[in-house]
């Protein structure tokens, strides 16, 4: 979490070996992609296993379950007249046998370490089981359905903010690097400490100003109740609900992004080959596109990946503050009712979502950075 606010290092990656010549791009990208995929899969496995361990309190939950089974079996047998007629010793034996059957049915006869790997397999294949208290809007208890139902809302909010942040930051930072030292430039540099606060925090302020005080935008949620009837109105209403969360997300991510990207642009625009291009008389736009943007893109993609990870993780609190009916708020509700299955399920999904985000950016990185090959994995991310 500490890296959220830190300026990405300006140290240039020194490739450990000379890039091999003559290897076609697709082959290079493919090899790189395979290695990164394996790394990310390991990440997901580690994350999910940690989740399993924590959620089971390192095996303690099994002890609780065993106690519950013993109690349930005893209660059931005591209400059984045939059982009560048996002599003492037989009763004892019968009870032990029933408990063993019940434990076996839940898999409690195996040691926790074995079971933890079974859980791991189930979680990785998104076989997330049934919720204890929560239901999906369609009334299902399947954790997978509960999660899938909320995923579109989350992806909408995340996607809108991520795209806006990326392009806004790119254009603003390019503009500022062109007008280095101008008033706007200095303003953005001095505003960059604003990024030390997370998105939900600006959310609170924005809600206070625009919803509670000025009463022009909704407090939260995704759609007004009752929802508008026509499609056009629906989209308009959705847009209105998106304004505050997206603004809050931009407030926290934009300034630091602009500051560091503008710095990259400035560093790269003082390289010799840029001077050379200028001397050749190339138009500034062409220089910017071919020599500056192209060279900085890998660094920018890397720093954007960090931003996106922060945005993903912030989503939980973010949706809670804005009452956005997505994964994050469901997570919060699951914490409230202590629904272990849902908490674990969403954590697993987060592990996947983070890995997929990084994976996509990795591919982009491999395509834009000609230096990358398998040996260069070390210098990636």
């Amino acid at each position: 979490m500490a890296e959220e606010a830190t300026l990405p290092a300006v140290t240039q990656e020194v490739p450990s070996e000379e890039p091999r010549r003559g290897v076609p791009t697709w082959q290079r990208v493919l090899r790189y992609t395979v290695v990164r995929t394996i790394m990310l899969l390991i990440t997901v496995v580690v994350g999910v296993y940690l989740t399993v361990l924590i959620a089971n309190m390192g095996g303690y939950v099994d002890e609780i379950r065993r106690g519950q089974i013993r109690e349930q079996v005893a209660l059931r047998l005591q209400n059984d007249p045939a059982y009560r007629a048996l002599p003492q010793e037989e009763r004892q034996a019968r009870m032990e046998a029933e408990i063993r059957v019940a434990e076996k049915r839940l898999g409690l006869d195996k040691p926790f370490i074995v079971r933890s790997f079974m859980f791991l397999k189930e979680a990785l294949t998104l076989d997330l089981g049934r919720a204890e208290n929560m239901t999906s809007d369609s009334g299902s208890r399947q954790v997978r359905l509960i999660i899938l139902e909320r995923l579109p809302a989350t992806l909408l909010l995340f996607g809108t903010s991520a795209l806006l942040i990326f392009f806004l930051a790119l254009f603003v930072s390019l503009y500022l690097s062109r007008n280095y030292g101008s008033f706007l430039d200095r303003l953005f540099v001095s505003l960059s400490p604003l990024s030390s606060a997370p998105g939900w925090f600006y959310g609170v302020f924005l809600i206070a100003i625009f919803a509670a005080w000025l009463k022009i935008l909704p407090f939260g949620g995704m759609i007004s109740t009752p929802p508008p009837e026509t499609r056009g109105e629906y989209i308009l209403d959705l847009g209105k609900h998106l304004i505050l969360p997206v603004t809050a997300q931009i407030l926290t991510s934009l300034f630091i992004g602009v500051y560091s990207w503008r710095t990259f642009f400035l560093i790269y625009s003082s390289e010799d080959y840029v001077e050379m291009a200028k001397a050749k008389g190339l138009p500034p736009r062409a220089i910017e596109r071919r020599y500056i943007l192209r060279a900085t893109l890998p660094t920018i993609v890397t720093s954007f990946a960090l931003t996106l990870i922060a945005v993903w993780l912030g989503q939980i609190i973010f949706e809670t503050v804005f009452n956005w009916p997505g994964l994050g708020r469901t997570y919060y509700q699951a914490i409230g009712v202590f629904d272990t299955a849902v908490i674990v399920g969403i954590t697993v999904l987060y592990a996947y979502l983070l890995a997929i985000t990084v994976f996509l950016l990795d591919i982009i990185y491999a395509i834009v950075d000609p230096r990358v090959d398998v040996g260069g994995v070390q210098s990636a991310t």
């Binding site: 606010a5 390991i42 940690l50 604003l194 030390s196 990870i309």
Partner: protein, 450 residues
């Protein structure tokens, strides 16, 4: 290099500004810890009705009155043992004593009080004393509020809970009872309070010679303290003050723990190279994509949510972060410098080289990231608190924000409740960030030209 840097800070206005605020916060923290010791803070924050009984519920901070034309009432609190409270005692008959207590108070405010409460305590052997509460208004009207017997030796009477009084005053539905006591004309569209001197008489009748009554009058105001109160009548100033040392120490410990460990691990990796280095690299890559916040939340939900546990978990999950990569790049350069070569040639041990030659060399470059790390950890703690996973005992800024949010502070317009702790968080965060950014420019000269 370090000394030079401290001299250089003067030329960065944002650094000076940040530093001043940080020093101020440290001063406030020290002041708080000295004047409200830990146990006292816990008592004030978690004490229950015993401690909070005298304070109004959801009262705004006192400074609201500076901004308003219509002054909100302060809480008036008087006890029968106070000086200036008149007593009148006589024996009326055999086994019948009268003990009147006369509370005289001014009410100069433009709004109604929140409530009026009388706390009675009596000592008796068998027969409980009997008490009548009578309010004399400035316009001479007398209102008999309640007659009650001090059963069990302890009675609390709140005007807002007396339906009987509401009926006797003939108040319309929806008008609070206390308005009926203090209004010029309670039947008006918008009743205004009658200013002037009120007298509350507690007419006690005692049935035993040894029997006594002590009482306390509280006219609950609508403003309280410099920070206001929350839904449990707790004075928010306690939480706001104690939030400072908690946030500072949490942020500092987490940032130092993370930065120092990260630096050592990166140095070890670079020095030994080979498989040690590549394992560290792989762990870092895995760790950077782990869902840190959900894992922290799960630790909070399933295990323990005390700050100490969270601190350890956060540090463990942050050690293998982006810092490893940054430090590694610098250490790789340091490793190839001649003085390291020299150290190796005269037989310095590995540990000596790592801890005495390599690490001191890069300390200046990690100071900015340490300072910049503090606000992110402070906010992380607040984030966990906003999810309801704050420390179960300590009052923190994040917990106040969470209480306010959950109880609809914004919807109902209790802005002070949520904005004060947010403001404190923001000022702290921005102060550290400003200092950190300036230090970054000082210690990383490559940035300075830009």
């Amino acid at each position: 290099m370090l000394r030079g840097a401290w001299r250089e800070i003067r030329y960065y206005p944002s650094a000076v500004f940040g530093l001043i605020i940080i020093i101020l916060f440290v001063a406030v923290s020290i002041y708080t810890v000295i004047t409200i010791p830990y146990s006292e803070a816990i008592r004030l924050w978690r004490g229950g009705e015993e401690v909070w009984g005298d304070t109004p519920r959801l009262a705004a901070p006192v400074w609201y009155n500076f901004l308003r034309e219509q002054k909100l009432p302060l809480t008036i609190r008087m006890s029968s043992t106070d000086e200036g409270v008149q007593h009148h005692q006589e024996q009326a008959a055999d086994n019948l004593w009268i003990h009147d207590v006369i509370y005289t108070f001014d009410f100069p405010y433009d709004e109604f009080p929140q409530d009026l409460g009388v706390f009675l305590q009596a000592q008796f052997e068998e027969k409980a004393p009997y008490v009548s509460l009578v309010l004399e208004r400035p316009d001479g009207e007398e209102i008999r509020i309640e007659d009650l017997s001090v059963q069990g030796g302890r009675q609390v009477f709140l005007v807002s809970q007396s339906e009987d009084l509401h009926r006797r005053l003939g108040l319309p539905e929806g008008v609070e009872t206390v308005v009926g006591l203090f209004a010029e004309d309670a039947q008006a569209e918008e009743p205004v309070p009658l200013k002037g001197t009120y007298v509350l008489r507690i007419e006690g009748t005692l049935f035993e010679p040894e029997s006594t009554i002590t009482s306390k009058l509280v006219v609950y105001g609508k403003v309280h303290g410099w920070a206001g109160t929350d839904h449990l009548r707790r004075d928010l100033s306690v939480a706001l003050l104690w939030g400072a040392p908690v946030a500072l120490s949490f942020g500092l410990l987490a940032a130092v723990g993370t930065t120092v460990t990260t630096m050592i691990i990166a140095a070890v990796g670079v020095w030994y190279g080979g498989w040690v280095d590549s394992i560290i690299q792989r762990i870092t890559e895995v760790n950077m994509v782990l869902p840190v916040l959900p894992i922290l939340i799960m630790i909070g939900v399933f295990w323990n949510r005390s700050l100490a546990i969270m601190l350890v978990a956060i540090v463990l999950l942050s050690i293998f972060g982006a810092g490893i990569k940054t430090n590694r790049a610098i250490f790789l350069q340091v490793k190839s410098l001649p003085y390291i070569e020299a150290a190796r040639s005269y037989g310095a041990s590995d540990l000596r080289i790592i801890f005495l030659y390599m690490i001191p060399r890069i300390i200046p470059t990690i100071i900015p990231s340490l300072v910049l790390g503090i606000p992110s950890f402070v906010f992380l703690e607040a984030s966990l608190a906003v999810l309801g996973l704050g420390d179960p005992v300590l009052p923190t800024w994040g917990k106040v924000i969470n209480d306010a949010r959950v109880n609809g502070a914004l919807l109902q317009g209790y802005f002070y409740w949520i904005l004060q702790p947010s403001f404190a968080l923001m000022v702290t965060g921005i102060a550290f960030a400003m200092l950190g950014f300036s230090l970054d420019r000082i210690f990383n000269p490559r940035l300075r030209e830009l």
